[in-house]
């Protein structure tokens, strides 16, 4: 009985949060189309989201691609091993692992940082101060982060995809003894334009989710330092869940004929 009540409460509060997030997103979107747009802030945020995430995203992609190649090779595919490794690595990385892993890594870094920053601004009344200085906090704080997220994640995922494939290439050629030229040729043959497009499309959605979760929880945080801590955790958790959920939905939509 109690157990059911707990589940019910979790479902209800999740639904409430998705509703609130949607309202928050709609409110932000309404400010994107109305000037002013703080271009300098967008640039700053892109640098923070993209450039400073490069090492961690690159490292994740490199090791994932390499591990994948090794795993597929030992997975019983003795015949046509080379084409199986090259093909599966590039498809898996570009379609799923590149965007999802980059999204999760960036969510861990960026959603939390955004929530902490906006949350601190909220509890120290800096957001109220913006209002009194005739500056809309949505325009000034939220919109630049959302735009930067949507622009930056595809760029980051492009890099992640390339490094991930390179990780597979390294294992394939250095350890498994494949020919470099033919491995690259197989990779190119397997990859289709639609894979790249869907990969970058997913990345843009994840970028939006990452910034949205960070801004939403930060903007609505209350209760001093403890509240900011809670906002930070909640931002990362909801970004993770929304990324995984939206990825499933997008995969179903894109890859079902």
């Amino acid at each position: 009985m109690n157990f059911l009540a707990v589940i019910g409460r979790i479902v209800l509060s999740s639904l409430a949060m998705i509703g609130n997030l949607s309202v928050f997103a709609a409110r932000s979107a309404s400010h994107v189309v109305r000037p002013p747009l703080y271009a300098r802030h967008i640039g700053q945020q892109m640098l923070r989201i993209g450039y400073f995430s490069l090492p961690v995203v690159g490292l994740t992609a490199l090791f994932t691609g390499a591990t994948l190649a090794q795993q597929i090779y030992v997975g019983g595919l003795r015949f046509n091993a080379e084409s199986a490794v090259a093909g599966v690595v590039v498809i898996a990385i570009v379609r799923e692992l590149g965007p999802v892993l980059a999204g999760l890594m960036v969510a861990g870094r960026v959603s939390s940082a955004m929530a902490a920053e906006l949350g601190t601004m909220r509890v120290t009344e800096q957001i109220d101060a913006l209002v009194t200085l005739s500056t809309n906090p949505f325009k000034y704080l939220v919109v630049p982060r959302l735009i930067a997220g949507v622009i930056t994640l595809p760029l980051l995922v492009m890099v992640a995809n390339i490094i991930g494939v390179y990780g597979g290439f390294l294992i394939g050629t250095e350890r498994l003894g494949f020919n470099q030229a033919s491995y690259l040729q197989l990779t190119v043959d397997f990859l289709e334009r639609s894979d790249v497009v869907s990969s970058l499309g997913k990345a843009a959605v994840f970028g939006f989710i990452i910034a949205l979760a960070g801004c939403y929880h930060g903007y609505n945080s209350k209760g001093g330092a403890e509240g900011v801590g809670r906002a930070t955790t909640n931002a990362v958790v909801s970004a993770f869940i929304l990324i995984l959920l939206s990825n499933l939905i997008m995969t179903i939509i894109i890859f079902t004929q």
């Binding site: 120290t124 009344e125 800096q126 109220d128 101060a129 209002v131 200085l133 005739s134 500056t135």
Partner: protein, 258 residues
């Protein structure tokens, strides 16, 4: 008090969940007048000011600023009202990602679209006005002492030369001498601008220095409202207890009830 009120509140109520914070506030501030609102911590003084600013929306009642409807007016009206108001926040609320001068010039650059160099000149002037040198202008707020931060907050509040200024606990957390410096600065800058002000405080030396009129907030209501000169002979037990800082009296602190 014959001229129309610059700020007027009628029957303002504000609740957070079951908790009633403001329970029917009637208050008016005449043009050029300095009203000081006193009351214990958590009595809803900041909430009162945030309702006037439109940061919080009252559950009932009417608020007018210069005849403009602050509660039911649209975002244009709110914009117009906010342009008239400068605010010194309780904790300073300085933007810690920006330099001191950018904080002071923020309303000029973002709100009024002033050119950066001109705004910086004004910012440095205002900083000098509150006793801070130009060398402070390029520092970050985190590099300043509490008293200096309050002064930067004050400079930011007066930078756009507003008609109305709100001061939320301007002297809380400062030593008595710095508190007196801030009180003097407030009095001087308000006189210079001819501004209408509401100051929130529980510091009686501020009250005596700044106030034309005093209102006391307790349990969501204004329990006393009168000229500064009458505060010692108010005949009101709440006010007497507050200004003498006595633990016993009609005001029951939560700690005593348990």
């Amino acid at each position: 008090m014959s001229s129309p009120a610059k700020i007027s509140l009628a029957g303002v109520e504000k609740r957070f969940g079951p908790k009633v914070v403001l329970d029917g506030i009637d208050l008016s501030v005449a043009r050029g007048e300095s009203l000081v609102v006193i009351g214990g911590s958590g009595s809803g003084k900041s909430v009162l000011i945030k309702c006037i600013l439109g940061i919080l929306k009252p559950d009932a009642g009417a608020i007018h600023v210069d005849g403009l409807d602050a509660v039911r007016g649209g975002s244009d009206v709110r914009e117009e009202i906010l342009c008239k108001i400068g605010m010194l926040f309780q904790g300073g609320a300085l933007f810690d990602s920006l330099a001191v001068w950018e904080n002071v010039a923020f309303g000029l650059i973002q709100g009024r679209k002033m050119n950066k160099n001109a705004a910086k000149q004004i910012a440095i002037e205002k900083l000098k006005r509150v006793g801070l040198g130009a060398d402070v202008a390029d520092l970050r707020p985190a590099e300043l002492s509490g008293g200096m931060q309050k002064r930067v907050g004050l400079a930011r509040a007066i930078a756009a030369e507003p008609e109305i200024i709100f001061f939320d606990e301007p002297t809380t957390g400062l030593d008595p001498i710095m508190a007196d410096v801030i009180n003097d600065l407030i009095v001087e800058s308000v006189r210079e601008l001819g501004a209408t002000t509401i100051t929130i405080t529980h510091d009686m030396s501020s009250v005596r220095k700044i106030a034309d009129r005093v209102a006391m907030l307790y349990k969501g209501k204004i329990v006393w409202n009168g000229p500064r000169g009458q505060i010692d002979q108010s005949g009101n037990d709440y006010v007497d207890q507050f200004i003498h800082g006595r633990a016993t009296g009609p005001i029951q602190m939560d700690v005593l009830k348990r």
